[in-house]
């Protein structure tokens, strides 16, 4: 029934009725708002399956299971101070993102907007971690996967924490002297956390 509730909400939104933004936020743990043909969960597979594949070992899963969830699930042990972070950032990150996170040649990382406004559909404003990203956990997840660009996936967990500490500090999200660890990242409420809403496009005659 939850799904139908979301469809109803989408209808309200389409009518441009002001709604409480907190109701509009995508809650973790919800299913999607989409309507699918329910073809059942078992396909036409025979009883007991086709028998291909083998059980995954704990070690195989651990080696690849690198994702960090928005609730902090998957964050490893470890921490870094902002100062450790800035030192690491200067050595490894600044060459692509600028000394203070606002340079190039790659993505602009740092910058907040007055009042943490969210004018991206109306004005040509660069999005940054501080003014756009809804979850700090994404920062850890992405840096661990993909950074630095010339040696992706090479950072130790401590170095990832250091990078995260630096980027958060450059966005005025953690103060000088702070220690950034799993707790900090999971609990940090990013400025744009509540800006993200479900896709209310459903087909049909209304342009959304």
């Amino acid at each position: 029934m939850r799904r139908f509730c979301w469809i109803a909400l989408a209808t309200v939104l389409a009518g441009c009725v002001p709604v409480d933004e907190s109701e509009n936020v995508v809650p973790a743990g919800e299913s999607s708002a989409r309507v699918f043909v329910d073809r059942g969960g078992s396909d036409d597979s025979p009883e007991g399956g086709y028998g291909y594949g083998r059980p995954a070992t704990e070690a195989e899963i651990a080696a690849w299971d690198i994702d960090v969830g928005p609730d902090g699930a998957g964050l490893p042990a470890g921490s870094a101070t902002v100062e450790d972070g800035l030192e690491f950032y200067a050595a490894k990150c600044a060459v692509c993102h600028g000394a203070d996170g606002t340079g190039g040649p790659n993505d602009v990382l740092a910058g907040r907007l007055p009042g943490d406004a969210f004018p991206f559909a109306n004005e040509a404003v660069r999005s940054t971690v501080g003014n756009y990203w809804p979850y700090a956990t994404t920062l850890f997840d992405y840096i661990r996967r993909a950074m630095p660009f010339d040696a992706p996936g090479s950072l130790t967990d401590a170095e990832v924490y250091a990078s995260v500490a630096a980027v958060l500090h450059l966005n005025d999200l953690v103060p000088a002297g702070a220690v950034v660890d799993a707790q900090t990242i999971a609990n940090l409420r990013m400025p744009s956390r509540d800006r993200f809403v479900r896709d209310d496009r459903t087909g049909g005659p209304t342009i959304r």
């Binding site: 999607s32 073809r39 396909d43 299971d65 994702d67 004018p119 809403v197 005659p205």
Partner: protein, 411 residues
């Protein structure tokens, strides 16, 4: 056997040396006027070329992708050079987030774990042994066509430059639901993470319902193994959904009861709206169409018949109708749709037009089976805001000048 030793090249050389000879004249039809001896050979008078282990295009046909960026770059499909609804695999668009990985098919593994009864690993050979399906679908990057989402777009854009992050293929693979049945997905699982084995370890959260619907782990494209740049040896294929979520080089599916909020579904591929919010998980591609002929930089040589043609597509099912306007949207007439019209696939449309030589403004407008009508830029900007990002499916237009030149012009 003297005749057999006479190659095409020696005939051409001979022709150049002995112009006027009766024999040469019969072989070289019109060489003097054409000025290109090789083109002028009468193919009925010389032995043809030998067959080869791999075919190749005619040297006269040179469609190419348009490449920009490097390892994080894109290639765009030459839409204006293609026919029908299938994109040759070597011309399929690309969008990479950290280059094209080299994946050894013998070492390849797909891991499915998380909220499942039996976490399992499948080899490529095993994936190929499951019952397979073959279906035709379009793929489009949701960032495609952003240069058209403005009131004053550049006129000197070709279909490829504007909307080349669009392609259509016949895909073969195993339904994800078959694999999910194999591992025993928990009823409480509502999302799964799809993760690639590129250097970005690109990952997206996908609602599990898409797996029960029509998602595939695809390993073949247009009758052959998927090419490296398209995700070799296997990729996720989510029919009708934005390209980025169709994770290439797929190596892991993790079932969960919530989305993972990865970088590419939060900081990217979210759609800002005028009210200070942004849509997240905006997967479906809405109905869109594009005239690919006549279009910039083509120049119409003279008034008369012009066969207008292009593509229409929708992630919500079938294209129901495509309308054409030659007067900037004042009046519309139905185009012909090439049949069969397949759901979530490119649909070829055509419209026979008599150009009278006056300036004209060509537009196409798609309607899908849900009743959705491809909107104007003004309608879309009113609904989302002038700087909204992604899902740029507004009406496209081409202005034809009286000298036959054509420029992109939507409004």
């Amino acid at each position: 056997m003297a005749d057999d030793s006479i190659s095409r090249r020696s005939l051409i050389a001979g022709a150049a040396a002995a112009a006027g000879s009766a024999i040469t004249a019969s072989v070289l039809k019109g060489a003097e006027t054409a000025g290109v001896a090789q083109d002028a050979i009468d193919p009925t008078k010389v032995p043809g070329d030998r067959p080869q282990v791999l075919g190749s295009r005619s040297p006269h046909e040179t469609p190419e992708k348009l490449v920009s960026g490097s390892v994080g770059g894109v290639t765009r499909t030459p839409l204006q050079d293609l026919y029908g609804t299938i994109t040759p695999a070597d011309l399929h668009f690309e969008r990479h987030h950290h280059g094209i990985p080299r994946v050894d098919p013998d070492a390849y593994r797909l891991l499915i774990h998380g909220m499942v009864d039996r976490p399992m690993v499948f080899t490529l050979d095993e994936i190929r042994r499951f019952p397979s399906v073959t279906r035709t679908y379009f793929l489009e990057c949701s960032g495609n066509g952003g240069a058209g989402y403005t009131e004053s777009p550049r006129p000197d854009m070709s279909p490829q430059q504007l909307d080349g992050l669009l392609s259509g293929s016949e895909w073969t693979g195993v339904p994800v639901k078959t694999l999910f049945a194999e591992v025993g997905v928990h009823d409480a699982a509502s999302w799964f993470l799809a993760e690639g084995s590129d250097a970005a370890v690109m990952s997206r959260s996908i609602p599990v319902e898409k797996a029960w619907d029509d998602a595939l782990i695809a390993y073949a494209q247009n009758g052959e193994a998927i090419r490296p740049e398209q995700g070799y040896p296997a990729r996720l294929l989510l029919p009708g959904w934005e390209g980025n979520a169709n994770v290439k080089w797929i190596r892991r599916l993790e079932l969960s009861d919530r989305p993972f909020m990865t970088r590419d579904e939060t900081s990217r591929y979210t759609d800002p709206l005028a009210d200070g919010t942004a849509r997240i998980f905006s997967f479906e591609i809405d109905a869109k169409s594009l005239i690919t002929y006549p279009a910039h930089p083509v120049r119409l040589e003279s008034p008369g018949h012009v066969g207008i043609t292009g593509y229409a597509w929708t992630g919500r099912g079938r294209i129901e109708q495509v309308e054409i306007s030659v007067d900037g949207g004042a009046t519309w007439a139905d185009a012909q749709l090439q049949t069969p019209v397949l759901p979530k696939a490119l649909t070829r449309f055509s419209y026979e037009w008599e150009w009278d030589g006056d300036p004209a403004h060509l537009m196409s407008r798609a309607v899908d089976e849900t009743g959705y009508v491809q909107p104007t830029v003004a309608q879309m900007q009113a609904a989302r805001g002038p700087r909204s990002r992604y899902h740029y499916n507004t009406i496209r237009g081409w202005r034809v000048e009286s000298d036959g030149s054509i420029g992109f012009a939507t409004v």
